[in-house]
C-alpha cells in the first residue's frame, strides 16, 4: 500500500486495525464520528467486532470486559464522552487491563462546542477518574504520527497492562493528509496475556479481573505495584521533538495541532532574525523534562502555546524548574491561536515587555 490520503479519524481507525485491534466499542459524538463509521464498515471485512453501545459509560465497560478477556481493544470519543468514561478508565487502570483510548478533543467545559480544543490536558495527564493511577498519554501532531502512535500505544498498553490515551483534537481528526501504513514500526515480540479471562480450559486455575481490595494494606501494595510500572514508564516512555533550540533565545512549547502552527511561527521568526526554537512534547504523561533541562540555562524565556487556558504551563514550569520565565499564549473554546498573535507574544518577550 502506497501513501493514502485519509482523514485523521479514519487513519486512527485503520492504524488500530493494522495493529491487530479487532474489537471496537463506540458511541457517536462529534468530532470523532468518522472513527465509528469507519470501524462499522471495516471491522466486518477483517472478521472483527464493531459495536455501537447505548452510552459512553456502557462502551468503556464493554472495553473493560473485552480487553479483560484478552482482546486488543480501541475506544474513541470526544471530550464530554471521555468525561463519561472516567469511571471505567479508573477501573481499567485499577484492574491492570491494557487498552487504547483516543480523545479527539473539542471545546468545553460542559457541552461546549464541536471545534478543536486542547482543554482536556489536565483530565488526560493528571488522573481524570478516581484513585491513584496514570494514563500514558501520547499527542500526535500529524496524521502520519497519529497512525504511528496508535501502533505504539497498543504495544505500550500491553507491556504495562495500563490504558494508553491518544490525545488528539477535532482538527487533527477532521483534516486529511497522506499516510503510509507500510512503514509503521511494529513491536514484533508478541506479549502473552496469561491473566486474561478466557475460560479456565486447560489452564488449571481461575483468572480474575478485579480492582477491589478491601484490606487497606493489600490495596496499598496494589497501588505500589501499579506505581512501579509508572516509574518504569517515566524512564522509558518519554517522547518529544526539539527543533532549532541550540541557539534559541525564545523557545515555543506546544503539542498536537497547535505545534504545527508554532513551527510555522518559529520559521517566520527565524526569517526575521529572531532565534526562536520549538519543543514539542509527544508524550504528555510521562512529561519529557529532558529538552527543558538541556535548554533552561541558555534560553531567555519559554512561550507555551495551547488551545486552552494554559493547562500544560505548570508541567513546563516544573520541567524548567523556574530557572527561566514561562510565558503563555492560548485561546480556549475551540479558537485557534493565529501565527500573528503568537509572533506578537514573541515580540513582547524580545522587547522586554513581558
Amino acid at each position: 500500500m502506497a501513501k493514502v490520503l485519509m482523514k485523521g479519524n479514519e487513519a486512527l481507525a485503520e492504524a488500530a486495525i493494522q495493529a491487530g485491534c479487532r474489537h471496537y466499542f463506540g458511541y457517536p459524538i462529534t468530532p470523532q464520528n468518522e472513527v465509528t463509521a469507519y470501524m462499522a464498515k471495516r471491522m466486518p471485512e477483517v472478521g472483527g467486532v464493531f459495536l455501537q453501545a447505548e452510552s459512553e459509560v456502557s462502551a468503556i465497560n464493554m472495553v473493560y470486559g473485552a480487553a479483560g478477556a484478552g482482546a486488543r481493544v480501541l475506544i474513541t470519543s470526544s471530550s464530554p464522552g471521555i468525561s463519561l468514561m472516567q469511571e471505567g478508565i479508573s477501573y481499567i487502570a485499577g484492574a491492570e487491563i491494557p487498552c487504547v483510548i483516543a480523545n479527539i478533543m473539542r471545546g468545553g467545559p460542559g457541552l461546549g462546542d464541536i471545534q478543536a480544543a486542547q482543554s482536556d490536558y489536565f483530565q488526560a495527564t493528571k488522573g481524570g477518574g478516581h484513585g491513584d493511577y496514570k494514563l500514558i498519554v501520547l499527542a500526535p501532531s500529524t496524521i502520519q504520527e497519529m497512525a504511528d502512535l496508535v501502533q505504539e500505544a497498543f504495544d505500550i498498553a500491553d507491556e504495562y497492562r495500563n490504558p494508553v490515551m491518544i490525545l488528539g483534537d477535532g482538527m487533527l481528526g477532521q483534516m486529511m493528509e497522506p499516510v503510509d501504513f507500510d512503514n509503521i514500526k511494529k513491536n514484533e515480540s508478541k506479549i502473552e496475556k496469561p491473566w486474561a479471562t478466557t475460560g479456565v480450559g486447560s489452564r488449571g486455575h481461575r483468572n480474575i479481573i478485579n480492582s477491589l481490595y478491601l484490606d487497606p494494606p493489600v490495596l496499598e501494595q496494589h497501588n505500589y505495584k501499579i506505581f512501579k510500572k509508572y516509574e518504569k514508564a517515566q524512564s522509558k516512555e518519554k517522547r518529544y521533538e526539539m527543533i532549532s533550540c541550540e541557539d534559541a533565545d525564545v523557545i515555543l512549547v506546544a503539542y498536537g495541532t497547535i505545534a504545527r502552527v508554532a513551527k510555522n511561527v518559529m520559521e517566520i521568526a527565524r526569517r526575521e532574525g529572531k532565534k526562536v526554537g520549538l519543543i514539542r512534547p509527544i508524550s504528555l504523561w510521562p512529561f519529557p523534562e529532558e529538552p527543558f533541562e538541556k535548554t533552561a540555562d541558555k534560553v531567555k524565556a519559554y512561550l507555551t502555546v495551547e488551545m486552552s487556558m494554559g493547562q500544560m504551563v505548570e508541567d513546563v514550569e516544573r520541567a524548567v524548574k523556574f530557572k527561566k520565565p514561562v510565558h503563555f499564549y492560548g485561546r480556549p473554546g475551540g479558537m485557534v491561536p493565529e501565527p500573528a498573535a503568537i509572533l506578537n507574544e514573541i515580540e513582547k518577550i524580545y522587547g522586554g515587555v513581558k
Binding site: 456502557s58 470486559g65 479483560g68 478477556a69 469511571e87 475460560g199 479481573i209 478485579n210 477491589l212
Partner: protein, 249 residues
C-alpha cells in the same frame, strides 16, 4: 459408604460472607450446580456486581470479572463479543441491575446479547445497610424511606421481568423464588433453561430470583422467607415471561 451429597465443583472452598438466613448462598449454589451439570465450568466467564454479591468472583469456580456498579451487562457484552463460544453470565442485585445499571440491562436485552443474567431481587440495598431499592415495595420501610415507600415521593417498584420480556432480543425470562424446597427446585430448572438459551444462542436470558434480606428487613431468617411469599410474590408474580427455547429432553 455411598455418597449421597457432594458440594458442587462450581463453587470454590471460600466461605460465603453472606448474613445468616440470606438466600444468596442458595442462589450461588444453584447457578454453580447448573454450570457443573451443563459441563461449562471450564468455559464459563462470570461477571460480579457491586452490592452484596460483590465477592461472587471469590465463590464461582470459573474465570470472573468484577464490574463497576450496574455495568455488568456491558462488561459481559465485551467478554461475549471476544469469546462468543464461551458461557458468559452476570450475577446482579436489584440496585445494580434495576437502578444504576438499567440502561446496560435494557440494552443488553434489546441487542439480544447472548448472555445469562441472574437477577437477585430482595427489594432493598443490602450492602450499604438497607436503603430503598427500585424494587422496594409500596409502604416498605428502609433507611431512606423511614416512613415507608410512597408512590407520591418514590414512585412504584420496577417489574424488570415484565419489562424486559417485551423486548424482542430477550430469549428467556423467568421469575422464581427460593423460599421453600419446591421453589428452590423450580429456580434451578429456570436457571438451567436460561443457560440453555445461551448455549442454543437464542439471545438474552434473565432469571429474576425473589430473595431474602433478614438483616435489613429486620426479621428472622424464617420470617424473611415468609415475607417473600406474603409481600413480594403478590406484586412480583412468579412465572415464565419469555421462552424461545427449543425442547430439550
Amino acid at each position: 459408604m455411598a455418597v449421597v451429597f457432594e458440594k458442587t465443583k462450581g463453587l470454590t472452598d471460600t466461605p460465603f460472607h453472606y448474613c445468616p438466613g440470606c438466600t444468596h448462598g442458595i442462589i450461588h449454589r444453584l447457578v454453580a450446580e447448573v454450570m457443573e451439570e451443563l459441563n461449562v465450568l471450564d468455559k464459563a466467564i462470570g461477571v460480579a456486581p457491586v452490592g452484596c454479591a460483590v465477592f461472587a468472583y471469590e465463590y464461582f469456580n470459573c474465570d470472573m470479572q468484577e464490574a463497576a456498579h450496574g455495568r455488568a451487562p456491558a462488561v459481559a457484552t465485551g467478554i461475549k463479543r471476544v469469546h462468543p463460544d464461551k458461557v458468559v453470565f452476570t450475577y446482579q442485585g436489584d440496585g445494580d441491575l434495576a437502578a444504576i445499571g438499567t440502561a446496560e440491562t435494557v440494552h443488553a436485552a434489546a441487542r439480544g446479547e447472548n448472555i445469562t443474567v441472574i437477577f437477585v431481587n430482595n427489594a432493598i440495598y443490602g450492602m450499604t445497610g438497607g436503603q430503598m431499592a427500585p424494587t422496594s415495595l409500596i409502604g416498605q420501610q428502609t433507611l431512606t424511606t423511614p416512613y415507608g415507600r410512597t408512590p407520591e415521593n418514590n414512585g412504584y417498584p420496577v417489574k424488570m421481568s415484565e419489562m424486559l420480556s417485551t423486548l424482542q432480543g430477550a430469549a428467556y425470562i423467568e421469575r422464581v423464588s427460593v423460599y421453600d424446597v419446591k421453589h428452590v427446585r423450580a429456580a434451578k430448572k429456570a436457571i438451567k433453561n436460561a443457560f440453555m438459551a445461551q448455549i442454543q444462542k437464542k439471545g438474552f436470558s434473565m432469571i429474576e430470583v425473589l430473595s431474602s434480606c433478614p438483616t435489613n428487613w429486620g426479621v428472622s431468617p424464617n420470617e424473611a422467607l415468609q415475607w417473600i411469599k406474603t409481600n413480594m410474590e403478590p406484586y412480583y408474580p412468579l412465572g415464565v415471561y419469555k421462552n424461545t427455547l427449543e425442547e430439550v429432553k
